[in-house]
Amino acid sequence: MSDDKYESHIKAVLSECPDADTDEVRAAFIKYEEEFYIPPQDALRSIIRRFQSDQAPKSSNMSSQQPRQTKKVALLSELAATDRDVEIEVEVVSHNLREQTIRGEQKQIAFGLIEDNPWEDGATKTRWEYKDWGPNTNITPGSIIRIEGASVNEYQGRMSLNINQGARVAVLREGTRPVTQPGEPIDISDIPKDGYICLVGRVLSSRDDQIHRKDGSGSIDVVRGRIADETGTIGFLSWEPFSHEVGSLIKIDGAQVKTFRDTPELNFGRTTKIESFHDANFANVEKLNSQNMKSISQLTDGARDVETVVQITEWEKRSFTKDGEERHLWSGQIADPTGRCRMSAWQQLPIESTDLPVTVKLTGVRVRAWQGIPDITVDKADQVEILSSAPWDGDIDLENHVVEVGLTDIVNSASRVGIETSGTVVSVREDSGIIMRCVECRRVTRDGECSFAGCVGKVESQQDVRLRLVIDNEDVTASVLINKDAALKLMNTTENKMAKAIENEGQMEYVQSIRDYLLGRNLIVGGRTIIDDQGAMILADHAEISGDDAAMLATEVRAKWGVN
């Protein structure tokens, strides 16, 4: 490598730092380039700084680039004449354009009136003049806008608002948001977690049921069933008589969505309007029923009337005594190509442990979840039909089958078992490393004591190791808890070594050393997931760094996007 290529850069450094030694400067450029991959043009400033700081004592002449706080107000009257960088929501009353000569240049500006308190009808409203120097094309009379970064102007006691060129205007009302009109049917897949909706669907099932009041004051007759369109199915509960037969197509207006555990359900009440609907092209019962079939990855806590085909890989009988009577429960592991979960049956099924694995079709079963793992409950033996062969490739070893799933799919689906996914490590939590757990309940203790009500006062704890991370694929994020064995393997250490390191460096420094190792790297994690209102959590029993080969990645990028 010839040194000549640095010559112009060295000259630049010397012109700034005349006392610097040429060879030293050249050595610095070589070091930046060879050891740090920083080309000379990028290293220039750093090197100049270094040689400058060698010579002169630093003068700290940081200019006042202090950011200003945005002042957010609801009413114009809250603003003072000196306020700048203001944020407010207003209705545009009028909007006029005008040509103005500003510094010899013809420029279009806009002016008019705005009115505050735009969302309340009949409330007291204040009007101000405004000037828009943008001018922003999205300011139109009648629209409600949010102005950010405007400044207040006072002239002869009259206040007005200047919408500067740097200000931002967001239109809040006026057709930018598609508003669902009442009476406008939506797809089942778009049903929100709660609220009133309108829907067109076909009745898949319907049966009379009774709900017993908890206080024992009697019972209410209800109708339960399922309704479907081409985007999905949903259970319903009608508090009013419901006479539409299975197979009929109906339009339901004003149904209330309630979410039981993780599963939404429609409630029909007195104000719900249900009428027959005619659409010759609407999918028939058979077709809709076939899509009612769920895979394990689609099971949600609280789901009812579920149809699925699974393989039972483990099955055992348990006995317990309730109210002085001996009762039996059969339970075990099941799997399909999308994952694994549990199943329990309250009646004996014709399955012997010697037959395993057995493929079964389940109909009308319900799903409960325990610690995020779905558990299919079979109430009656006739809900189970034993199949002679599996509908998928029979060679898959489901018991140890790990399904690779993209992080986005993980986060947007129900809790699953036996998955593997990957993402960039974007956070290493401060409580990673060695933790103490209560010996009774396994909860993490604080200051040596368990905070759980059942174990208060108990101070016995046990040492454990874990890593708490966040991984990210630029679309979604998930928390990751890595268990002891996987964590030690990933960090290439032992529990004793880790304990010693923490003792020597302190917890904070140790966490920083984990960051030094993991931050920004691609991590593959395997285990199970718990998806709930808190977001997605992956409980990992396996973790490894992957995809670190920059040259390979670069080649892939070139090939994919034609960058040459």
Binding site: E35, P39, S53, N164, I191, V426, S427, L553, V557, V563
Partner: protein, 308 residues
């Protein structure tokens, strides 16, 4: 089924300094806990970034309440990211900042990777700057820097392709709803196209090419000036210097035009802006004087400049 509206952690985008630093649009929801975003020219709505590069400067500055704010800059092949570490960061980030500051003082080159929150701010004169607030950071080696360059190139190409595909639609929500773009993408793309107008993507492609060269260890290729200039390779070095100063002149004039709200633009503001565009302060100062002497700009009040 739609998920409940809960506060979700915002994803982090791998981003080069050029894409982030050119942003002048931010977005904040009206709710108290709504996340804020910076919207880049190609419509990426970004709340959090994964950035890396050479730590070029990190300096503490005393502020009024007795605490110290550290300000620094991180250089990647496309430009510089500015970040500040204030009182609100975790102890470990603060500790690391102080350590880094000392190490940098000794002249040691340091490569950094950080996960940071994005932020735009505006000076009194109306100039808009981007800045980063590190959440977690670490010192990385060349291999990881190379991986970051490749990953970021991939991510930028992806976003550019999304942006280009959006150009088939009008820049409003209704029109883009017909495309395959996600709701989040549409929000960013509509906002950016309405704010920035037409955007030239060529320099982003050049950034990617250079980053990939470095990632592949081909420093020779990456050290060359950007390929577009290779076309005029015969041009003498002298010409280039002239070009560079011309460039500075137009930059200064541009700064004054953009920032002048009627009273002219302050001396310091012009220099900070010129510096932010990669010119040396002393050179910019000289140029400004020259422009003032030859009558291109005038000084209506001391230290305030306007175009004639």
């Amino acid at each position: 089924m739609q998920p409940a509206r809960s506060i979700k952690r915002q994803p982090a985008l791998h981003m080069f300094a050029s894409e982030y630093g050119e942003s002048t649009l931010s977005e904040k929801g009206s709710g108290e806990f709504d996340p804020s975003f910076v919207v880049t020219k190609i419509g990426s709505r970004v709340n959090r970034v994964v950035v890396a590069g050479l730590l070029e400067r990190i300096e503490g500055r005393d502020v009024a309440n007795g605490s110290v704010i550290y300000q620094g800059q991180l250089r990647d092949p496309s430009g510089i990211n500015y970040f500040s570490v204030g009182d609100y960061v975790s102890d470990s980030v603060k500790d690391l900042t102080i350590q880094l500051s000392a190490r940098l003082e000794s002249g040691e080159p340091i490569l950094i990777l950080m996960i940071a929150k994005t932020r735009l701010y505006q000076t009194d004169e109306g100039a808009i700057y981007t800045s980063l607030r590190p959440e977690e950071m670490c010192v990385i080696d060349t291999q990881r820097y190379a991986s970051w360059l490749a990953k970021t190139s991939q991510s930028l190409m992806e976003r550019m392709s999304t942006y280009l595909s959006s150009l088939d639609y009008d820049s409003n929500v209704e029109s883009m709803a017909k495309s395959d773009l996600s709701e989040q993408q549409v929000l960013g793309l509509v906002a950016s196209r309405n704010h920035y107008g037409d955007v030239d993507l060529e320099h982003y492609r050049l950034n990617v090419m250079q980053a990939l060269d470095i990632a592949e260890g081909r420093l020779e290729a990456a050290s060359k000036p950007a390929p577009q200039r290779q076309l005029v390779e015969e041009t003498e070095v002298k010409d280039k210097e002239v070009e560079a100063t011309d460039d500075l002149e137009s930059v200064i004039l541009d700064i004054i035009t953009k920032l002048d709200q009627g009273d002219g633009v302050e001396f310091e503001t012009i220099l900070i802006n010129a510096e932010a565009r990669g010119f040396q302060r002393s050179v910019a100062e000289e140029k400004l004087e020259e422009l003032s002497d030859n009558g291109t700009v005038h000084e209506p009040a001391f230290g305030w400049f306007r175009l004639v």
